[in-house]
C-alpha cells in the first residue's frame, strides 16, 4: 500500500525504476503497452487515410464513420485467420521470429523519457540500451526470412540485415555527435541517460538541433534518414518490396503472427522517433522554453493538451452534424456522437487539470498538469515524425538496392563522420 501511494505524492521526482518501486514500474509498463497498442491502431488508420488522400482516393470509409473502426475490424480479422506454417519451414524458429521482433521493439520503451519522472526507468546507459536493443529487431526479420524456407523471404531477410547494419553505422555516429554536445556544458560531464540528455539541453538553454548550427541540424537529418532505413519503411522498404519480393520477409506469414510484425514495425517507428526527439528536439520541453517561460506562459502551454482534444471533439461533432440523415447512418451517427462526447469530456478534464494546477503550485493537480504537459509535448513531437514516415511513403519511389548501399556508405557515413569531427573541434574551441 505504501509503495502504491508513494507515487501519488507530488514531491516524488524520480522514475519508478530508479526509485526501486517495482509496483509503479509495472503500472507504467502496462500503461505504455496499452498506449502504444492504441497508437499503432490509430496510426494504421491514419496512414491508410493519409495515403489515400495523397493519391486522391477516399481510403477506408465503410466500417464506422470515415472508416474509424477499420483498424479494429482488421485486427479481429487477423486474429481469427488461420495461422499457417509452411510444410518445409523450420517450425520452432518460424513461430518464434515475430516474437523476437516484438520483444526488441517493446523493450526499448522502458527508457523512453516522456518526462523527467514519466519513464519506467532512467538508465545510466539509456541511449546505448535503446540502440542496442532496437538493433536486435533485425534478428526477428532475419530468422523469419530464413525459417520460411522460401526464396522471397530469404532475399528479403538478406537485404534487411545488410541494410540495417549499414545504416546503423551512420545512425550511431549521428547519435555520438549529439552525445558530445551533452558533455560540452560548463560542468563538462556528458551523459548517456535519456533523461540526462534532455536535462543537458535544459541546462544549456538550447535544443541540440540548433546547437553549433548547422552541425546539430545535419546530425538530425542523417538520423532521420537512417531511422527510416532502420525501420524498413518507404523509400527504404526493400526487405518487403511488394513489387519485387511479394511481401519480403513476411511473405509466408499469416494471421496473428503477421500482425505481430506490423505491430513491431510501428512500435519501432515510435521508438526511433522518440530517440530523435530526445536527442535533438528537447524531449518533453514545450517550444521556445527560453523566451516563453514564467507562470503565465506555463499556463498557456498547459492549455494545449485540453485544446487539442477539444479540437478533435469539435471535428467529431461537425462530422456528426454533417452525417446524412438516411436511416442507414443512424448507428454510425450515434457512435460518432458518443466518441465526440468522450473526446469533449477528456478535453474538459485536461483543461480542469491545467486550471487547477495553475491555481495552486504545490497541489497534486500541479504535478498532474506537469505530467500531462511533458507527455503531451513529447508525443506531439513524436507525432510529427510519425506523419513524416507516412509523407515519405506517399512521396518517394523506392530505392534500388545498390543505390541504397551507396547512400548509406558513400554519402551518410562520410557526412556523419565529418559532423562528428567538426562538432568535437567546435566544442573544444567554443564549448
Amino acid at each position: 500500500m505504501n509503495a502504491l501511494m508513494s507515487y501519488l505524492d507530488p514531491r516524488v521526482t524520480a522514475t519508478p525504476g530508479s526509485a526501486g518501486n517495482e509496483l509503479w514500474a509495472l503500472i507504467y509498463v502496462f500503461v505504455i503497452f496499452a498506449g502504444v497498442a492504441v497508437i499503432v491502431l490509430s496510426m494504421n488508420w491514419l496512414e491508410r487515410k493519409a495515403l489515400a488522400h495523397f493519391q486522391i482516393r477516399l481510403g477506408p470509409m465503410r466500417v464506422g464513420p470515415h472508416g474509424l473502426l477499420q483498424p479494429i475490424a482488421d485486427a479481429l480479422k487477423l486474429m481469427t485467420k488461420e495461422d499457417i506454417v509452411p510444410a518445409d519451414a523450420d517450425e520452432v524458429v518460424f513461430r518464434f521470429a515475430p516474437v523476437i521482433g516484438l520483444l526488441a521493439a517493446f523493450t526499448v520503451y522502458i527508457v523512453i523519457p516522456f518526462g523527467p519522472s514519466q519513464a519506467v526507468t532512467d538508465m545510466n546507459i539509456g541511449i546505448l540500451f535503446m540502440l542496442g536493443v532496437s538493433s536486435l529487431g533485425v534478428l526477428g526479420i532475419v530468422t523469419a526470412g530464413w525459417s520460411s524456407n522460401s526464396h522471397y523471404p530469404l532475399i528479403g531477410a538478406l537485404r534487411s540485415s545488410a541494410q540495417i547494419i549499414s545504416y546503423e553505422v551512420a545512425m550511431g555516429l549521428a547519435v555520438v555527435s549529439a552525445l558530445l554536445m551533452t558533455s560540452l556544458n560548463a560542468q563538462g560531464t556528458g551523459t548517456l541517460s535519456m533523461i540526462g540528455i534532455v536535462q543537458a539541453q535544459q541546462q544549456q538553454h538550447i535544443w541540440f538541433v540548433f546547437k553549433f548550427f548547422p552541425l546539430g541540424f545535419i546530425a538530425l537529418i542523417i538520423f532521420a534518414i537512417a531511422m527510416v532505413a532502420e525501420t524498413n519503411r518507404a523509400p527504404f522498404d526493400l526487405p518487403e518490396a511488394e513489387s519485387e519480393l511479394t511481401a519480403g520477409f513476411h511473405t509466408e506469414y499469416s494471421g496473428l503472427r503477421w500482425s505481430l510484425f506490423m505491430l513491431a514495425e510501428y512500435a519501432a517507428m515510435i521508438a526511433v522517433s522518440s530517440i530523435a526527439v530526445t536527442l535533438w528536439l528537447g524531449g518533453w520541453m514545450h517550444p521556445f522554453p527560453n523566451w516563453l517561460n514564467g507562470p503565465t506562459w506555463e499556463f498557456i502551454f498547459s492549455l494545449f493538451p485540453g485544446l487539442t482534444f477539444g479540437g478533435l471533439a469539435l471535428i467529431a461533432f461537425i462530422g456528426t452534424a454533417r452525417m446524412p440523415s438516411h436511416p442507414y447512418f443512424k448507428i454510425q451517427r450515434a457512435g460518432l456522437a458518443i466518441f465526440a462526447v468522450f473526446l469533449g469530456f477528456l478535453a474538459l478534464l485536461l483543461l480542469a487539470i491545467a486550471v487547477a494546477g495553475h491555481a495552486n503550485d504545490a497541489s497534486i493537480a500541479a504535478r498532474c498538469r506537469e505530467g500531462v504537459d511533458n507527455i503531451y509535448w513529447f508525443m506531439l513531437k513524436v507525432a510529427v515524425f510519425m506523419y513524416l514516415f507516412i509523407w515519405y511513403r506517399a512521396t518517394w519511389p523506392r530505392y534500388r538496392f545498390d543505390q541504397l548501399m551507396k547512400v548509406g556508405w558513400k554519402v551518410l557515413l562520410p557526412i556523419s563522420l565529418g559532423v562528428l569531427i567538426v562538432t568535437a573541434i567546435v566544442g573544444v574551441i567554443f564549448g
Binding site: 524520480a14 519508478p16 526501486g20 546507459i125 546505448l128 542496442g132 540485415s161
Partner: protein
C-alpha cells in the same frame, strides 16, 4: 540534476534469483550451441548466451559493458554470422560428419578453464586481486572513459592499449578490403 526524492525502503532489484536465472540461461543455451547440428539454431542459442552474459554484467554494476555487449555482439556480430550461415545449405551440413580432429585440444583447454573456475570458487579471495572498487552506477561509464582517455581522476592509464587494439581492428578492416577487391 534535481535531487530526486527516492522512495523509502527501496530494495535492490538485482537479487540472487536473477543471478541464477541468467547463469542457467547462459549455460543451457551454451549447451544448445554445441549440441545442435543446425548452424542457425546454434547461432540463435549463442545470441541468448550473449544476452544473458550482458545481464550478468548489469548485475556486476557494469552497465556500459552490458550495453556494448548487446550492441556489438548480439546486434552486430551475430547478425553478420546469421547472414553468412543463412547462405549455407543447411541440409548438407546437418548430414555431414564433423571432419576436424581438434577435440583433444578442446578437452585440455576446457579442463584448464575448469581448474581456474574451481580455484576461483574455492579460494577466490586470495587467488584473485581484490582491488576492484565498486563504483556507483551513475559514474561507472564516466570511469571507463577516464581509464581510456584520461581525466583528472584516472589519468588514462589504458589509453595506449586501447589505441593498439583499435590499430588491430584497422588492420583487419584493411585486410578484408584487400581480399575482396582485386584492384584498388
Amino acid at each position: 540534476m534535481n535531487p530526486a526524492i527516492v522512495n523509502p525502503g527501496a530494495a535492490p532489484i538485482a537479487t540472487t534469483f536473477f543471478f541464477y536465472f541468467l547463469a542457467a540461461a547462459a549455460i543451457l543455451s551454451g549447451l544448445v550451441v554445441i549440441t545442435r547440428r543446425n548452424a542457425v539454431h546454434s547461432a540463435l542459442a549463442l545470441i541468448v548466451t550473449l544476452l544473458s552474459v550482458a545481464g550478468l554484467y548489469l548485475m556486476l554494476y557494469a552497465p556500459f559493458v552490458a550495453g556494448v555487449q548487446i550492441i556489438v555482439y548480439a546486434g552486430g556480430i551475430m547478425v553478420l554470422f546469421l547472414f553468412v550461415i543463412m547462405l549455407v545449405n543447411i541440409e548438407v551440413t546437418v548430414k555431414d560428419r564433423q571432419f576436424n580432429r581438434i577435440w583433444p585440444i578442446g578437452l585440455v583447454a576446457s579442463c584448464l578453464l575448469l581448474t581456474i573456475f574451481i580455484g576461483a570458487y574455492s579460494k577466490g579471495k586470495s587467488l584473485l586481486l581484490d582491488r576492484a572498487t565498486q563504483l556507483p552506477e551513475a559514474v561507472n561509464t564516466q570511469a571507463i572513459a577516464g581509464y581510456l582517455y584520461g581525466d583528472a581522476g584516472h589519468m588514462g592509464q589504458y589509453t595506449f592499449a586501447f589505441e593498439i587494439a583499435s590499430l588491430l581492428l584497422l588492420v583487419a578492416i584493411l585486410g578484408a578490403v584487400i581480399m575482396t577487391k582485386k584492384k584498388i
